[in-house]
Symmetry: C2
Subunit: 219 residues, 2 copies
DNA sequence: GCTTGTGAACACATTCACAGCC
DNA sequence: GGCTGTGAATGTGTTCACAAGC
């Protein structure tokens, strides 16, 4: 009666599911009711067969010869990703990037709710951003305890990111998303993911210079 | 006499090289002169053997029994990534996120220079951000032509991102980094990369809910 | 006939283990 | 002895091709 592995979805698939979810939502808003793997694949920039394989991980519910029901598929993906129930996040660091994140509509619509904004600068404490009032980072532990936040987002300068990470972990936050340009270490059981905004740019630039090896034209 | 593939570095390696570059720079700033693969690996959160394999792609110059020379390695990586010469970028969309990007020090220190900031909102045009004056997006083509920008960064709302992308591509920009939450399409020869800030958060949340399948404690 | 779902083949990436060198 | 560099083994992810089903 024990399912072998009820939900073991490859990480690469999870990332793409989030993208499918976004596109399906816009399709649903546009009044579309069904979609084929080919259409959805081209709208998300992936291979159709890969898309079907991704969907097969969630015990897919497409109809052969027809396609997928947009609403049903969207709900199923949302359920698997846990995007239907709201998750409480605290955000530390409200400089330019942090403020952008606090205001970013994409989070709220995908089940992430900021329940605490924290900053160390006195002039930022008390400001209202994205419907919340910025609190003093000294109260981090109290805010986490009061809000039961399960996710922490770090958008501080690099030199304080590690100590913020330590405090979040100690306060019981088990998932941390780091935007500061440092590699963080955290105790076992705490999941840290790092988003480096300039890495993508650097990869892009590298591919660009690859493409045209400057003066190596075939003439 | 034709080299088979002079420089074909796996994309995953390129992304990590950018991280090594950042850490090596901070090591160099701290006065460190040599580093072993183990040290650098733990500072960047990767496997030591993988790190050595990454470095081997650039015809590595470590010394057995000793390690790598920090400065030499940093320069070699910078050269391979093309991070030594400055690359001109235009940024379109100066809302919260765009402003954060324009101000982000991480770009400048890695060879990316914003040479144009463009926005459609009249109240933003003329503002100074990160040392530049915001220009009207109507002048996009002129700005690209005047600055010879090779990279475009899109941080606009989703609904105008595609048309900005089209105009950038038509103006001759061959590398585009998209922060808007839409999948963009571009003509062949134009490289588009998409950074979705909430995808990482969604993966993190998924892993978190995986970890503790709520009420399935082994007691 | 059209589209899904999936095993099998392939390509890519990571890790291991050790030979080569200082 | 210590650390790099790398082939070999493993694991992961992607693509193909086609059978199954509407």
């Amino acid at each position: 009666m024990i399912q072998p592995r009820p939900r073991s979805i490859p990480e690469a698939t999870v990332a793409r599911l989030a993208v499918y979810l976004r596109v399906l939502t816009s399709f649903a808003d546009g009044g579309r009711t069904t979609v084929s793997s080919g259409d959805l694949a081209s709208a998300t920039g992936v291979n159709p067969a890969g898309l079907r394989k991704d969907l097969s991980h969630l015990g897919s519910c497409g109809v052969r010869g027809v396609g997928y029901d947009v609403r049903a598929l969207r709900e199923r993906i949302a359920r698997v990703l846990g995007a239907e129930r709201s998750r409480a996040c605290v955000l530390v660091g409200l400089g330019n990037l942090g403020s952008a994140l606090a205001d970013y509509a994409g989070f709220g619509s995908r089940g992430f709710e900021f329940v605490g904004l924290l900053d160390a600068a006195p002039e930022r404490v008390g400001q209202r951003i994205g419907g919340l009032t910025v609190q003093d980072v000294a109260d981090l532990e109290a805010v986490v305890a009061a809000t039961q936040a399960s996710i922490g987002v770090i958008a501080t300068p690099a030199d304080v990111a590690q100590q913020v990470c330590d405090r979040l972990a100690a306060a019981g936050v088990r998932s941390i998303l780091n935007f500061a340009p440092v590699t963080l270490s955290a105790p076992a059981g705490v999941d840290v993911r790092h988003v480096d905004l300039s890495v993508e740019l650097q990869v892009l630039a590298f591919l660009g210079q690859q493409r045209v090896p400057v003066g190596e034209a075939s003439a």
